[in-house]
Amino acid sequence: MNDMTSQGYVTPDGRQIGGTLMELKNITLRFGGVVAIKDISFDIRQGEIRAIIGPNGAGKSSMLNIISGFYTPQEGEVWFKGYRRGPMKPYQVARLGIARTFQNIALFDGMSVLDNIMTGRLNRMKAGFLAQAMWWGSAAREEDENREAVEKIIDFLEIQNIRKTPVGRLPYGLKKRVELARALAAEPKLLLLDEPMAGMNVEEKEDMSRFILDVNDEFGTTICLIEHDMGVVMDLSDRVVVMDYGKKIGDGTPAEVRSNQAVIDAYLGVAHD
């Protein structure tokens, strides 16, 4: 990892990765007596696709929940865009420019696809109460502007035909895509994906992988994802953090991680004599 200085690095496929966007320093998270995460540090660079992998119960989702503000770690520091972040509520984290999707889809079932994606832009809509109540200039104009931005994302993710369908009626794979669309609508600096391919068939996985790469490529969004499918992780990500029992056991490019003995032991098991 000699070429990965804080100034960034160049990936094998020629993308320039920038400096540190988010840094987690010595994070420890406990639930009562259970230590879910123990003294973990890693960073996420501007523009990269960073994966967190590990066996079940390794603490990956807890890590994501710390980043998105659901959990506050007992020890350690979270740095984002060069500033140390104090304890924050999830909606405050969202306003910093961090968006996420969930392992179990968390869409608003009673609303249409369009409305769901529009909710991703709520933080950009500033019209006052009266303007909204009267549907005056600023409220109506804002609605149009944001609709235009949302339509671009709808085109990008190829979900034009289900625009007005209630989300509750959609099949699983499309719901995942709508959830990604909602996260993208916020134009986040950092996008967190919690198992974006869980429960998908091969074609859906291919679609989703393509969208993740396209998002990174076209919008320059930094992505941090958790995924179980090793093939996908190794193909997509620039750097990988490997966790096991709440500890970090590996960190580096997919190739480095693949040849790391601790990682192999954690995944394949190790003979005890």
């Binding site: 998105s68 509520k89 999830p90 909606y91 969202a94 306003r95 968006a99 996420r100 969930f102 968390a106 869409l107 608003f108 079932d109 009673g110 609303m111 409305d115 529009m118 909710t119 991703g120 709520l122 933080n123 809509m125 019209a127 109460f129 909204q132 109540a133 009267m134 549907w135 409220a139 109506a140 804002e142 609605e143 149009d144 609709r147 235009e148 339509e151 909602r182 996260a183 916020a186």
Partner: protein, 358 residues
């Protein structure tokens, strides 16, 4: 065959997201407005105003209010009667304290006062949900009724404990008190309904409405996209209570004329409005109107049919009405939890494809 989107081209996002995207619906809306404002005021008589139209319009406002809170923001409330009482007593105190100020301003202020009270009783919603919140709002209901009964200041120390609406005029026509005519009562309620329904529609289709629905459908996901649950829930309580307060003020000042709090704004009223939005359809503006119309018209209809038509005793008809309403609510909860509004939209969806359903 004419109920189609086809040929009705939308060339802007604003056109695409309008309230009535289908031409026939738009016409229907304009015709309804024209009849309501242009024809009914000239033909209305006391019976129609007092038995049907005025209560329908007032309950439509209350149902809109509760629907914003329960249907859109997902916060259950059993305090509607209490909040209506706040509106009624506020408007009474304002009317008697500042007789020279226009009644319309008083009614709006009464809504504002109710909104503040609603926010106060909405505070527990930040911690509790569902049944527990329902019980907390039930406490509001009983507390408010008790308050207006026990503190004589609220009913100006009158011997009967009742409040009576003095005569007040709008543009020279009496709208409250014994001198008010049927068209005047009807029109003032209609204007309030029209403006408030329009406001409700604007709020629910915009940013605030999306925040409310996000909190309703999945509060964790709402927080992660940047919705502050405190702001969203309390704004729902405020707007909802504003509507309900205005409904209470109109019910007392325009419709009843005189009211005693336990009788006019008891727990029964809370349930009545709740049944309206359940039968009409949760989370639907149209549903609020449909539910209010249904529960206001049903007793009138049954009374005319059973007492007038079949000659049954009045008390028997009243009991049968209770049984029918109860059965209907159970039926709706089982068969169509989204109420009349969903039935209406299903019918429209069918109509859009008729006569070739595939």
């Amino acid at each position: 065959m004419i109920y189609r989107e086809a040929g009705d081209f939308k060339t802007s996002y604003r056109d695409d997201s309008q309230t009535f995207p289908i031409r026939l619906d738009r016409w229907g809306y304009y015709i309804t407005l024209a009849v309501a404002f242009g024809i009914i005021p000239f033909v209305i008589n006391d019976y129609w105003a007092n038995a049907v139209l005025v209560p329908f319009l007032i309950y439509a406002i209350a149902a809109l209010g509760l629907n914003i809170l329960t249907g859109y923001a997902g916060q259950v409330s059993l305090g509607t009667g209490g909040f209506m009482a706040v509106g009624a007593y506020s408007v009474y105190k304002l009317m008697t304290a500042f007789p020279e100020v226009n009644i319309v301003i008083h009614i709006l202020l009464a809504g504002g006062i109710t909104a503040m009270v609603g926010v106060m009783f909405g505070l527990p919603s930040l911690r509790i949900k569902g049944f527990y919140l329902a019980v907390a709002t039930l406490a509001a209901q009983f507390f408010l009724v008790w308050l207006f009964n026990k503190v004589p200041w609220f009913y100006n120390y009158s011997a009967s404990g009742q409040i009576n609406a003095p005569t007040r005029t709008v543009l020279g026509h009496a709208v409250t008190g014994p001198a008010a005519t049927a068209p005047a009562k009807y029109l003032i309620c209609l204007v309030f309904v029209f403006v408030l329904a329009w406001v409700a529609r604007n709020l629910t289709r915009g940013t605030l409405g999306r925040k409310w629905m996000a909190i309703r459908d999945m509060d964790i996901a709402a927080e992660i996209i940047g919705v502050n649950p405190l702001g969203a829930k309390l704004s729902a309580f405020a707007v909802s209570s504003f509507f309900i307060g205005i409904a209470g003020a109109l019910l007392f000042a325009v419709y009843l004329g005189a009211a005693e709090v336990g009788e006019a704004f008891g727990i029964n009223k809370s349930f009545l409005v709740l049944f309206m939005i359940i039968i009409g359809g949760l989370g639907s503006i149209f549903g609020s109107f449909a539910g209010a119309a249904f529960l206001v018209l049903l007793p009138v209809l049954l009374k005319n049919l059973l007492v007038g038509g079949l000659g049954w005793p009045t008390d028997l008809a009243a009991h049968i009405e209770l049984m029918i309403v109860g059965a209907l609510i159970v039926l709706f909860l089982i068969v169509e939890p989204h109420g009349l509004a969903r039935l209406w939209s299903l019918a429209k969806e069918k109509l859009r494809l008729w006569p070739f359903p595939h």
